[in-house]
C-alpha cells in the first residue's frame, strides 16, 4: 500500500441476490459492484463518476459499512474495515463520515439543529451540556450558519443550509475521510457553488480526504484531483482529473465528456451520442460496454472482458483498444 494512501479498496464486490421462480428462491446475483479497486491519497479528492445504476453509491455505502460487501478488502489507514466487528467499526466511524444527496431526508425532522449536530458528539465523545453546545456552535460557525440557528428545526432551512447542517454533523467527530454522495445534486447552481467552495475550504483547513460521488462531470472536474469512471459496477478508467478530461481513452469516458452540456453556446465540440441506455443486464461475455460502444470494435470486444491496465503513469483503462501495457 503506497504510504500516502488513506483509503485503499481492493477487489471490492457487492452482489445483491435476485429472487424469482415459484418459491421465490435465489435465482442469481445482481452484481452492483464487481471487482473494483482504487486508492484515495491522503488530503486528495477522488471522484467516482457514473450514470444511475453504475454502483457508485453502493461503493460509498460499503466503505462506511452501511452495507456489508460480498468480497474484497477496504483498507483504511492499513486497517481492513471488512474484517472489523461492529464494536470496532463503531470506533472507526468517527474517522469516516458521510454526506448525503437529499439534505432534507438525511436530517431528522423532529430534532433541532443543536441536537442533530450534537448527537455524534454524545455518541463518540460522551460530550454533553455546555461543552457540547460550545462545540456545536463552533461547528455551525465553520459551515457558515449562525448561533440563532441552534434551536431551529430542519424544515426552517433552505436546501443549501440543510446541506450545511449535514456537513456540520459529519465534521462533529473530526473525521479524516468524508464520503460525499452527490452532495450538490439537489441544489441550485448558485447554492451549489457555495457548498462546493465550503467543501474545498474545509478540506484545506482540516486536511480532509474526500470520496466524491457524482454524476455531474462539470462539478467533478472542478473539485476532484483524480477521477474513476464506473460502468455497470466496474471501473473503466482512472486517471488524474486533467488527463481524464483532456485525453480520455475509454470510449465511454469520451462519450460522457462529450455529453456534458457546457454553458457556452460557441462550444463546438463534437458530441458522441451513445446507442441505447445503461441496460442493467450486461452481456455475459466480453466488454460490458460493447453493446453501446461507438468506437471501432475489435473481435475481442464481444468475447473477452478487458482488464483494467496501466497505460502510462497511473492512467488505467479497461478497453481492448488500448492494450499498451498488456
Amino acid at each position: 500500500m503506497p504510504s500516502d494512501a488513506l483509503l485503499e479498496v481492493r477487489n471490492l464486490k457487492k452482489y445483491f441476490p435476485v429472487h424469482g421462480g415459484l418459491l421465490n428462491r435465489k435465482v442469481g446475483d445482481f452484481k452492483a459492484v464487481d471487482d473494483v479497486s482504487f486508492i484515495v491519497p491522503r488530503g486528495k479528492t477522488l471522484g467516482l463518476v457514473g450514470e444511475s445504476g453504475s454502483g457508485k453509491t453502493t461503493i460509498g455505502k460499503c466503505i462506511t459499512r452501511l452495507i456489508r460487501p460480498t468480497d474484497g478488502e477496504i483498507l483504511f489507514n492499513g486497517v481492513d474495515l471488512t474484517k472489523l466487528n461492529n464494536r470496532d467499526m463503531r470506533k472507526m466511524r468517527s474517522e469516516i463520515q458521510m454526506i448525503y444527496q437529499a439534505p432534507a431526508a438525511s436530517l431528522n425532522g423532529r430534532m433541532t439543529v443543536g441536537q442533530i449536530v450534537g448527537e455524534p458528539l454524545l455518541l463518540h465523545e460522551k460530550l454533553k451540556g455546555a461543552a457540547a453546545r460550545q462545540r456545536v456552535l463552533e461547528l455551525l460557525h465553520v459551515v457558515g450558519l449562525k448561533e440563532e440557528h441552534y434551536y431551529r428545526y430542519p424544515h426552517e432551512f433552505s436546501g443549501g443550509q440543510q446541506q450545511r447542517i449535514g456537513i456540520a454533523r459529519a465534521l462533529a467527530v473530526q473525521p479524516s475521510f468524508l464520503v460525499l454522495d452527490e452532495p450538490t445534486s439537489a441544489l441550485d447552481v448558485s447554492v451549489q457553488a457555495q457548498i462546493l467552495n465550503l467543501l474545498q475550504d474545509l478540506q484545506d483547513r482540516f486536511n480532509l480526504t474526500y470520496l466524491f460521488i457524482s454524476h455531474d462531470l462539470g462539478v467533478v472536474r472542478y473539485v476532484c484531483d483524480e477521477v474513476a469512471l464506473l460502468y455497470l459496477g466496474k471501473i473503466v478508467e482512472v486517471a488524474d482529473v486533467q488527463t481524464i478530461f483532456e485525453e480520455p481513452k475509454h470510449p465511454y469516458t469520451q462519450a460522457l465528456i462529450s455529453a456534458i452540456p457546457e454553458p457556452d453556446p460557441t462550444d463546438e465540440k463534437e458530441e458522441i451520442i451513445l446507442k441505447g441506455d445503461l441496460s442493467l443486464s450486461k452481456p455475459d461475455v466480453g466488454c460490458p460496454f460493447a453493446p453501446r460502444c461507438h468506437a471501432a470494435k475489435v473481435s475481442e470486444c464481444d468475447t473477452i472482458e478487458p482488464p483494467l491496465v496501466d497505460t502510462d503513469g497511473g492512467h488505467r483503462v479497461a478497453c481492448h483498444l488500448h492494450p499498451e501495457a498488456v
Binding site: 448558485s190 462539470g218 445503461l278
Partner: protein
C-alpha cells in the same frame, strides 16, 4: 406581430395561502417567435414552471389567481377563452412534456392504450365531438385502427426501436429515457404548434440527456415546431436554445439571443448564475456563488426583487421596479444599472 406565436404580457399570478398571498409571477413579459427554441432559465421557485403552466391554463384556480396580464397565442388571448374552447385549443395547438416521465404515464395501462388515447382525443377534437362519444360514431372502428397506426408511427418518430412491438408493453418495462420519448410521442400526437418542455432532461443521465435534446432539436426542424424549454441547467440552454429569458423571483430579468447572453450577460443575477457553473476554465477556488437566498414571495422585497443579493445595489433599486432597457438588438435587461442608456 404575426411573427410571434406566443406573447405573454405583464402576467401576474398569485397564490392564496394560509400565510398570505404569494405573488408568484409579478409582471412576466415573454415573446416566443414562430419556429424558435426559447429557453426559460432560473433557479427553484423563480416561477419558470408557473409561467409555462399558465399558457395551457393548467394552474389550479383557486388557490391560484391571475390578477393581470395577457397570454396571447397567435394574437388571441388564452386567458379570456371559455373552458371548453380552451380544452379544444390545448389538443390542437399545444404539446407538453414534463420533468418526471414516470409519474406522467399510468402504470396500469400499456403504452398502446395511452398513446392511442392521445391520438383519438385529438381526432375527436378535429371532428368536434366530445371524446366520450367517440366510440359511438359509425367510423369508430376505422378510427381506432388509424389511431393505432399513427401511434406506431409516432413511436418510430421519437426513435423507439421496435416500436410496433414495444407499444404493447407497460411503462415499467421502459427505461427513463424511453419513457420520456413516449411522452414526447404523446405530445406530438396532436401535431402541436407549440411544445412546452418543462425540465425534460433533469431526471435523466447525461448520455440520455444528450439523446433527448438531439431528438427535440430534430423534431423542431422536421415539424416546424416552436419550443419553450424550461430548465435550470445553463448547459442545456447553451446547447439547445436560440433565445433565452432568465427569470428571478417571478419576473423575467434578461432576454437575449443565446450567444449574446453567455458572451455579454448584463443583469448582475445572470452574471452570478453563469459564474456559478464550473466550466473547464474554472480554477480551484475560482467558483463564485451568489450570496444570500431567494426571497420569500409572500413578503417579496420591494423594487427590484434581486436587490438584497445584488452587488451593485443603488437606492432606486429598493423602491422602483426596473423597466425593460434595451442593450443591443434583441438583448434587453430589467435593471436600473442600464437606466441612463434607455
Amino acid at each position: 406581430m404575426s411573427d410571434n406565436l406566443l406573447d405573454i404580457q405583464n402576467l401576474h399570478l398569485e397564490f392564496h395561502t394560509y400565510d398570505g398571498v404569494a405573488k408568484v409571477l409579478a409582471g412576466v413579459d415573454l415573446t416566443v417567435r414562430r419556429g424558435d427554441v426559447v429557453g426559460l432559465v432560473g433557479e427553484t421557485g423563480c416561477g419558470k414552471s408557473m409561467t409555462a403552466l399558465a399558457v395551457p391554463r393548467l394552474i389550479p384556480m383557486p388557490p391560484g389567481k391571475i390578477t393581470a396580464g395577457q397570454v396571447l397565442f397567435n394574437g388571441e388571448d388564452l386567458l379570456a377563452k371559455p373552458d371548453d374552447a380552451m380544452e379544444q385549443f390545448r389538443a390542437q395547438h399545444l404539446g407538453m412534456i414534463f420533468q418526471d416521465p414516470t409519474t406522467n404515464l399510468n402504470p396500469l395501462f400499456t403504452i398502446r392504450e395511452q398513446l392511442v388515447d392521445a391520438v383519438l382525443y385529438q381526432r375527436a377534437n378535429d371532428q368536434r365531438v366530445p371524446g366520450r362519444w367517440l366510440g359511438w360514431l359509425p367510423s369508430a372502428k376505422q378510427m381506432r385502427k388509424e389511431a393505432y397506426d399513427r401511434a406506431v408511427e409516432l413511436m418510430r418518430l421519437v426513435g423507439i426501436p421496435d416500436g410496433d412491438k414495444r407499444i404493447h408493453e407497460y411503462p415499467h418495462q421502459f427505461s427513463g429515457g424511453m419513457r420520456q420519448r413516449v411522452l414526447i410521442a404523446m405530445a406530438l400526437a396532436g401535431e402541436p404548434d407549440l411544445l412546452i418542455a418543462d425540465e425534460p432532461t433533469t431526471a435523466l443521465d447525461v448520455t440520455i440527456q444528450a439523446q433527448i435534446l438531439r431528438l427535440i432539436k430534430s423534431l423542431v426542424k422536421q415539424f416546424n415546431l416552436t419550443v419553450l424549454l424550461i430548465t435550470h441547467n445553463l448547459g442545456v440552454v447553451a446547447k439547445t436554445c436560440e433565445t433565452v429569458a432568465v427569470m428571478y423571483a417571478g419576473r423575467v430579468i434578461e432576454k437575449a439571443p443565446v450567444r449574446e447572453l453567455f458572451k455579454n450577460p448584463q443583469h448582475p443575477y445572470t452574471q452570478g448564475l453563469i459564474n456559478a457553473v464550473p466550466t473547464k476554465y474554472t480554477q480551484r477556488g475560482g467558483l463564485e456563488g451568489i450570496p444570500g437566498l431567494i426571497p420569500n414571495l409572500i413578503d417579496a422585497p420591494p423594487g427590484c426583487r434581486f436587490h438584497p443579493r445584488c452587488p451593485h445595489v443603488m437606492d432606486v433599486c429598493r423602491e422602483v421596479v426596473p423597466g425593460e432597457f434595451w442593450i443591443a438588438g434583441e438583448h434587453s435587461v430589467y435593471c436600473h444599472l442600464y437606466g441612463d442608456e434607455a
